[in-house]
Amino acid sequence: MDVGQMQKRLLDYMNSLLKEGILDSQFAQLQQLQDESNPDFVAEVVNLFFTDSENLINDLSNALGQQNVDFKKVDSCVHQLKGSSASIGAQRLKNTCISFRKFCDEQNLQACLMCLQEMQQEYLLLRSKLDVLLQVEKQIVAAGGSIPIMEF
């Protein structure tokens, strides 16, 4: 595959993620920040996000498993994940967080547990998609090409 084909593949892939609502325009903002002075910016941010999210999801799991659930703590974790998701453009994950917070407000444990499951699924899906995306970007750069700018 030559660079041109790889770039097209990347654009098509990004468009499909946009269409599915997995990512939104904020992700393109991130990509536009990457430059020669910081060529790994997107990968760094994405990896930060992965670590952060996994910790938060673990904390949520623990918090919801307690005898007396501290909904304030649960809400605080979800709030943080919502913020990070929004910052990176992870739209579906962000939306799951928004629903989650409503159930925290209502102190509805069952609904929170279901949301947690959904959150885990969305996160895993997002993670696998971003892994592919970063992989393709790496290949383009290794082949001497540049990451095409997405226009939203």
């Binding site: 941010v45 930060l48 709030h79 990070s84 929004a86």
Partner: protein
Amino acid sequence: MNLGGSFDGSSSSSCSSRLNSKSEHGGDSRPHILAVDDNLLDRKLIEKLLLNSSCKVTTAENGLRALELLGLRDDQPNCSATGSKVNMIITDYCMPGMTGYELLKKIKGSSILKEVPVVIMSSENVPTRINKCLEEGAQMFILKPLKQSDVKKLRCLIY
């Protein structure tokens, strides 16, 4: 409350001392912005946005650390030679411990720093919150996540 380790590795300025500017020695004339946010990812993002807009950036992970950098900690002597070499402070609203609003009040309550423009960021569009901050002297309120167009607006506040 953890006060240590507030700087991210990619910050462009010195981490060990309070904010100081080289501009009085005819050096860096870029505007110097202090960005405060408890979320590491957001700090990284705003730092890059500001760097890309030709600003010098220092980040802090909480209000107390920000005050320390500004020379406004309660136990610090109020010295006009330090701390005030910041052209703008941008802070998240929702932070554990000291909120962005509380930080804003401290800054506006300081004789040295009250003229420094303060911008508040929040992921939530709450009119009462926005009004409260503007009334307390915030120059601008921006909704997160931040974009390049937001940073362009910020830059206009400095000159």
